[in-house]
Amino acid sequence: MEPPNLYPVKLYVYDLSKGLARRLSPIMLGKQLEGIWHTSIVVHKDEFYFGSGGISSCPPGGTLLGPPDSVVDVGSTEVTEELFQEYLSSLGESLFRREAYNIFENNCNTFTNEVAQFLTGRKIPSYITDLPSEILSTPFGQALRPFLDPIQIQPHGGSPVGRPNGQS
């Protein structure tokens, strides 16, 4: 039996605030946040992320955000590209439809976490997934919540990962 191919899975982490969060969070929130994290999964030489436009893909580092601020090695997977596309399609129809985007509850990091677990069984670092609760646990965050909630984030540069055609 031939050994199955192992594909590396990486997590690209971007700081959306470009350093502002690190400087301003102690004043505004009362606690230190290192950044406002946006993440994406890179596998099969493509970057996949979730935004207000649904699940999108692009060449690694190909969004307007530029190169990632840090890269985390998630592990490796046997999941083939074809299977992964199927999986993404099913996610894109269920949990990660474009209208299902919510900046606190169901955001890019939620998506990345799901995908990382699917691909490797591991979750993404907790400092990323804890970010919404960190912010909402401050009075300032609570006060801002109604204004932040409708915000939709969609890094540009990718194309949507859609459903395979021809289904009925």
Binding site: L16, K18, G51, S52, G75, E86, S90, T120, A143, G162
Partner: protein, 614 residues
């Protein structure tokens, strides 16, 4: 059973429960696994020695599909039929991922791969479309066969999953080099036709008639295409305003700010190439329409500044620099979009079109770093007013252009307003970067619509008995009063150690709802309200005292000028009464002591005792 070399270590079999903690498996032979698929998950109870094939059989009946559609993934490894679950290390409570392949997937993939070469030109053109469309419609545009009019093939089915293979930058570049494509794109009529036939664009045009003006102006189209092609230009623009191009305005077809600013903003586009100092213009030139977050903030700020009554502070401050300070206008169409986000009660039209005397301007001069130290009192007050007081007029280009646009205000030229807005955005961003405390202010003002409305309504009733009794009850909680004491102590420490930092803290307190924003009409009521329970509250009167006076002090520092302007007698009348009640009969001495201690009753008492020789 064929022996399989498994990469995962063999776990204890069901016959060796001693290897596992007793509470892990209720019955050693049955395992509960979680199966996750397509956004939902279910539990399954299976025997430890179940093979993957048997498990698949079970799943296929459960999910009503065929076995060959099922793919099981555990820890990133595909599960083969001949494995057993225990061999792969699947224990109780573990999650197995399931992908149900669509029946036609294999057929589809074969079909699409065949069609791929012929569809490439269609993809490439589509991608150009997407790039240019990106200018007008930044929200993810799905590929549509708009360009099918171009292609020979009558039907161009959407091939999404294959797109990423052909939509890479190299393909786009290749395609752009193709002279026929270039010729095509050079024909602005054709491009315009493409764009206007795009169903999303049509929808947008229905809601935003301005968009059709864009399309009619071939100059803009050409410039935009040039821009999309010129990656270096894009890079430069992006680098300049990296912090801004992050968040996108929610897709609200009714008010797309990028588009609204585009007509005027595009005129500025030409200028920005000439005037490289004018970085601010670029902020609205985002070719992909990404909506800068600070503009969100700023628009909100302006909304609020619009709605809040003119603060009493301006009379105090030198107004020579800008004679039209109270009347300068800011109209910011993006706030229209903001109102749809925030559902604030302020109507956007007010901000857009009213050159009323109540609007304030933000002149985006970067304040000198010494400014917060010099004027700590005024900083927390409406920052717009403070900013306009900066005397420097020569330093920043934005200032100059803004001044010129100020003059244009009477003319009420829409394009110049757009320019102003873009300058404002850009220089606001500079400001925020240079002065984090200002950013804190900005963030505060986001919460202002709610707070200021609330407070304005509440404050007249704030002193009513019901309110007071609530506060009294709250204060009765010893932990609450302790917390207040700690905050007060912290504030006092801060005041002694680093008074310059006090304004930084003030917005935080406002955010907590402690202090009303200074723009409110009754700035004094909160400290007075704090003082009232001082007298009535039996428990922990000291800490209540302190908190009240500390807040008073903070508020005075926070630039509440009416507070400062009041005669000490009026300010301290409450404390005077309490001192009288305590038996300090010398009215004059009491007043002096209170003035010296800034209204701190207990400190005044100490002072009085010392002076009166107790």
């Amino acid at each position: 059973m064929p022996h399989v070399i498994s990469r995962t270590p063999r776990m204890a079999q069901s016959g060796h429960p001693s290897g596992m903690p007793a509470d892990k498996n209720i019955s050693p032979s049955v395992t509960r696994v979680i199966v996750k698929t397509a956004g939902k998950q279910e539990d399954f109870m299976i025997a430890d020695d179940t093979s993957v094939r048997q498990f698949k059989e079970k799943l296929s009946t459960h999910f009503k599909c065929q076995m060959d559609q099922l793919v099981l993934v555990f820890m990133g490894r595909l599960l083969k039929d001949h494995d057993t679950l225990s061999q792969r290390g699947i224990l109780d409570g573990h999650t197995i991922h399931l992908v149900i392949k669509s029946k036609r997937s294999s057929r589809f993939l074969a079909h699409s791969s065949r069609n791929l070469p012929t569809k490439e030109p269609c993809h490439r053109v589509r991608n150009t479309e997407e790039n240019t469309n990106g200018v007008y419609q930044p929200a993810g545009v799905s590929h549509t066969p708009v360009e099918s009019a171009l292609l020979v093939e009558p039907d161009a089915p959407k091939v999404h999953s294959q797109d990423r293979e052909v939509s890479g930058p190299e393909y786009v570049a290749q395609m752009l080099q193709n002279p026929s494509i270039q010729q095509l794109l050079s024909n602005t009529d054709l491009v315009r036709q493409f764009i206007s036939e795009h169903p999303d664009m049509q929808q947008l045009m229905q809601q935003n008639p301005e968009v059709s003006y864009i399309l009619d102006n071939s100059d803009i189209l050409w410039q935009t295409l040039e821009l999309a092609r010129n990656l270096a230009m894009i890079q430069e623009i992006m680098q300049i305003q990296q912090p801004e191009q992050i968040l996108e305005h929610p897709l609200n077809p009714q008010s797309h700010p990028g588009l609204e600013t585009l007509p005027g903003g595009d005129n500025a586009l030409g200028q920005s190439y000439v005037d490289c100092n004018d970085q601010m213009l670029n902020s609205s030139q985002d070719p992909f329409g990404g909506y800068p977050f600070p503009a969100l903030l700023e628009g909100q700020v302006l909304q609020e500044l619009q709605s809040s009554p003119p603060s009493p502070t301006p009379p105090q401050e030198p107004q020579d620099q800008l004679p039209q300070l109270p009347t300068a206008r800011v109209s910011y169409t993006s706030s229209h979009g903001l109102s749809s986000i925030t559902s604030a009660s302020v109507t956007p039209n007010k901000v857009n079109h009213t050159p009323s005397t109540h609007t304030t301007t933000i002149s985006t001069k970067a304040p000198s770093p010494t400014c917060p130290i010099q004027q700590p009192a005024r900083v927390p007050a409406l920052p717009s007013i403070e900013l306009t007081q900066q005397p420097q007029t020569e330093d920043i280009d934005a200032t100059i252009s803004l001044d010129s646009s100020d003059q244009k205000l009477e003319d009420d030229l829409q394009p110049s307003d757009e320019q102003t807005k873009s300058q404002i955005t850009g220089s606001m961003m500079q400001l925020l970067l240079n002065n984090p405390y200002l950013a804190a202010q900005m963030m505060l003002f986001i919460s202002m619509p709610q707070l200021s409305e609330q407070y304005r309504q509440q404050l007249p009733t704030f002193l009513q008995q019901t309110q007071l009794s609530d506060m009294l009850i709250a204060l009765a909680n010893p932990k609450a009063s302790q917390a207040i004491l700690q905050i007060e102590q912290g504030l006092q420490l801060l005041a002694t150690e680093a008074p310059v930092l006090l304004p930084w803290v003030a917005p935080y307190l406002w955010g907590l709802g402690w202090l009303p924003a200074p723009s409110c009409s009754h700035p004094d009521t909160v400290p007075w309200a704090w003082d009232v329970p001082d007298i009535a509250e039996p428990k922990g009167p000291e800490c209540c005292h302190k908190s009240g006076t500390g807040l008073q002090r903070l508020q005075s520092l926070a630039g509440d000028p009416s507070h400062l302007l009041q005669a000490p007698e009026i300010r301290f009348s409450q404390q005077m009464e309490s001192l009288q009640a305590m038996g300090f009969g010398n009215h004059h001495a009491n007043l002096q002591a209170l003035i010296a201690t800034e209204g701190d009753t207990s400190a005044a008492i100490c002072k009085l005792k010392r002076s009166q020789g107790f």
